[in-house]
Point group: C2
Chain length 180, copies 2
């Protein structure tokens, strides 16, 4: 992981993109002891239902909380891939939901097409945990935060009574990329 690590999560309203960003930033800052920022930018395009969250993680103080050169980009819908799949570094990682995104963003990054939504629905049993499956894939591929930190941050943020379900979703996300 480089000095400043920029993550952009995107999808549509109801997929829990904002919560995933909050969890990732809290994992980095509260449980891994780094600096982190978490930002949502809402513009005219967000009224169409597209949703975006950005997380910056750094060992040092973060002056500018907007992503400039994205290290990891996640898209759970085609519209999100089209709108937000820019500014990804050549050395970056792109994760696309394989059932929802048909056209890849252009660029020479490492592309991972993963059955995130299908895994949430079929392996875990709740499509609404696609955001947590995504976090497992993101952490498994990027090591942006530790596995311990992401678990703790999930437990602190998800509704009481859903902890086991969400940890299963995280494990399913790790499993999607183990060995990748």
């Amino acid at each position: 992981m480089s000095y400043r690590y920029e993550i952009r999560l995107s999808g549509e309203g109801g997929q829990g993109i904002v919560l995933a960003g909050v969890i990732l930033a809290e994992a980095a800052a509260i449980y891994d002891g780094k600096n982190a920022t978490q930002t949502q930018v809402y513009g005219p395009e967000s009224r169409g239902g597209a949703s975006k969250a950005e997380v910056i993680i750094s060992e040092e103080e973060i002056d500018y909380p907007k992503a400039l050169s994205v290290d990891l980009f996640l898209a759970l819908t085609q519209a999100a891939a089209d709108k937000y799949g820019r500014e990804v570094k050549p050395s970056g990682i792109v994760i696309l939901d394989s059932s929802k995104v048909m056209t890849d963003p252009e660029g020479s990054f490492a592309l991972h097409r993963l059955p995130i939504i299908e895994t949430a629905k079929e392996a875990v049993g709740k499509v609404m945990v696609a955001n947590i499956v995504s976090l497992g894939a993101i952490v498994g591929l990027s090591k942006a935060v530790s596995r311990h930190a992401i678990e703790q941050a999930i437990l602190a943020r998800v509704p009481k009574g859903t902890e086991a379900l969400n940890l299963r979703a995280l494990e399913a996300g790790f499993a999607l990329v183990d060995g990748a």
Copy 2:
């Protein structure tokens, strides 16, 4: 409301500061049709339990999502008032919880000491809705977003089954500042 309106919410972990920031930004962007950003910055001080969220609202595109010159500052704890009560404009608004904040931030802004936590606990019946009472006071004093927009944004974000409780909390927040 000026061209760029900067809101900084602060308190401690568990008070729902992050959720309040998300709701305020979504009220502005999704329901009032403006541009908005919502940012959490986590640094070493956030490991002590202090929590901060910033929301910028503008008619135009927002280039820089960090607050530079704060129009409205909320503090629900003394530690938060001490750490984050800087950079408030002379024409700004400061809202402090009257039971938790004993020492006012220095400056010549309009100061409102309000029984936010007590209102959540006694008038609404749940201390955990102090964040929503705060939103009522913020919107009542600043008109940063419309009352309709804040209601809709709350209904879209709070857990199912708690809608009526949260709307009561919002109304209690409006009532704290009506006529102010």
